[in-house]
């Protein structure tokens, strides 16, 4: 799996939806299943999959799939 696939998979399992529903435009607060609880599950899943530790700024900024890619690039994950 490449990084993008890993990330999409993390979103799909954390938000409990089908992989086909995940795309870069998917955004927090416009997708009902992506609530605060799911967000914390997502953060833990991304940290585990990419073996990184996100800080509080990162998790507040992570408001869409595209944003998540941007944040992960800071941790030397390339897409």
């Amino acid at each position: 799996m490449n990084s993008a696939e890993t990330l999409y998979q993390a979103f799909a399992s954390s938000l409990d939806v089908d992989l086909s529903e995940i795309n870069d435009d998917l955004a927090y607060n416009s997708f009902p299943k992506w609530d605060s609880t799911a967000h914390m599950i997502l953060v833990a899943e991304i940290e585990a999959q990419f073996d990184i530790m996100l800080d509080t700024d990162d998790i507040i900024d992570m408001s869409s799939v595209a944003k998540a890619k941007e944040i992960l690039s800071k941790y030397e994950v390339s897409f």
Binding site: Y28, N29, S36, M40, M53, D55, T56, D57, I60
Partner: protein, 367 residues
């Protein structure tokens, strides 16, 4: 018209975000807050007929923060105050109802909710730092389960949970302490910084008293304890802030204990205690102490009713609220901790009899 007001608000708000949380002097801070609060007043008059009816006596923008209109907090119990269309409602927050039967309703859209999370993080980073710490929550995991009836307690936990990792609940569904869980957590992170969060009376009653009663010895010297929710339930036990800190340190070695004051009606822009033991108004909010009889703004050192202001809410008219809490300003711009702006203490609740069934702020004035 509405959209341009919101755009203007957003541009002022984004400019505010670039400022330091605790290092603007009061006069500078008021210069930034006043246009935002006046915009919110104008916007809510336009969007919320009930708000307009209540504040209508006063017209036009205020020239001082002190002269802005405010709503009595109990109005949120009597009315569903909203400045958004039904289809934009993202979540309705209910106050926890531990002290009263009627619950407040706070109507949130996604923009206000996102703003609250962002600001809460900015404020608490000043106390906790940016790293997320292993987190022990002095509550039961059951509190988050009732999603339809989302209360302020759950919202508080979720807000603080952003600062945690490996979230561990200290209580079981029956509010009994889960020793195996707590001891495993303490052992796993021994000697490392961890974050503990809970509501003040719950931390005392279900954690501190359990430590005493069960004769447990745990070490939490590296921990930060954040707690909130008021002292009312601890009054009968004669526990105040000093006693709370003293016993916590004695039992666990934990010295970094920070209380914070905030209202369900103004989630996000909380007032956090500093190292010197004072509550501070951050960049996004302010406090005014008012005389209980004539509601004039009081100077430093005089006890009165707390009015709290917050620049966050656009989905409901909660930017300026007269609370039912008593307190006094301890000073402005000169706390020994180095933070600027106003700092204060909360001394208790307004006695019930004094708050008549006021349907608006003006009746409080004449009572």
């Amino acid at each position: 018209m509405t959209d341009t007001l919101i755009e203007e608000y957003e541009s002022h708000f984004n400019a505010l975000l670039a400022q330091p949380v605790y290092h603007l002097e009061q006069s500078q801070k008021e210069q930034l807050l006043l246009p935002l609060l006046n915009l919110l007043d104008r916007y809510h008059r336009q969007q919320c007929p009930a708000y307009k009816n209540i504040v209508d006596l006063q017209d036009g923008p205020s020239e001082k923060v002190e002269s802005l209109p405010y709503l009595a907090v109990r109005l949120f119990k009597q009315l569903a105050l909203s400045s958004i269309r039904k289809e934009s409602v993202f979540r309705v927050l209910q106050s926890s109802g531990t002290t009263s039967q009627i619950r407040s309703q706070v109507i949130l859209d996604s923009a206000t909710s996102a703003r609250q999370s962002k600001v809460l993080v900015k404020i608490l980073q000043e106390t906790i730092g940016k790293a997320r710490l292993p987190m022990l929550i002095i509550d039961s995991p059951g509190v988050l389960k009732d999603k339809a009836n989302f209360n302020a307690r759950a919202a508080g936990i979720q807000g603080i949970a952003f600062f945690g990792r490996d979230h561990t609940y200290a209580l079981d569904e029956n509010m009994n302490i889960d020793w195996p869980n707590v001891e495993a957590f303490c052992q796993k992170y021994q000697g490392q910084p961890v974050l503990i969060f809970g509501f003040t009376f719950m931390v005392w009653q279900y954690f501190i008293e359990a430590l005493l009663n069960d004769n447990k010895d745990i070490e939490l010297e590296q921990a930060i304890l954040l707690h909130s929710g008021g002292w009312k339930n601890l009054e009968s036990k004669k526990v105040d802030n000093e006693e709370f800190k003293r016993v916590v340190e004695e039992l666990t070695g934990l010295r970094n204990v920070f209380n914070f004051y905030g209202m369900a009606e103004q989630v996000g822009s909380v007032f956090v205690e500093c190292e010197a033991g004072h509550l501070h108004a951050p960049l996004f909010s302010d406090v005014i102490v008012r005389d209980p009889f004539n509601l004039e703004a009081l100077e430093v050192g005089k006890e009165g009713i707390l009015q709290v202001l917050s620049v966050l809410p656009t989905s409901y008219p909660g930017h300026s609220i007269l609370t039912e809490d008593l307190g006094k300003l301890a000073g402005v711009d000169n706390c020994s901790c180095g933070r600027k702006g106003k700092y204060f203490s909360v001394s208790g609740r307004l006695p019930k009899t004094e708050v008549r069934g006021c349907s608006d702020t003006h009746k409080v004035e004449s009572s």
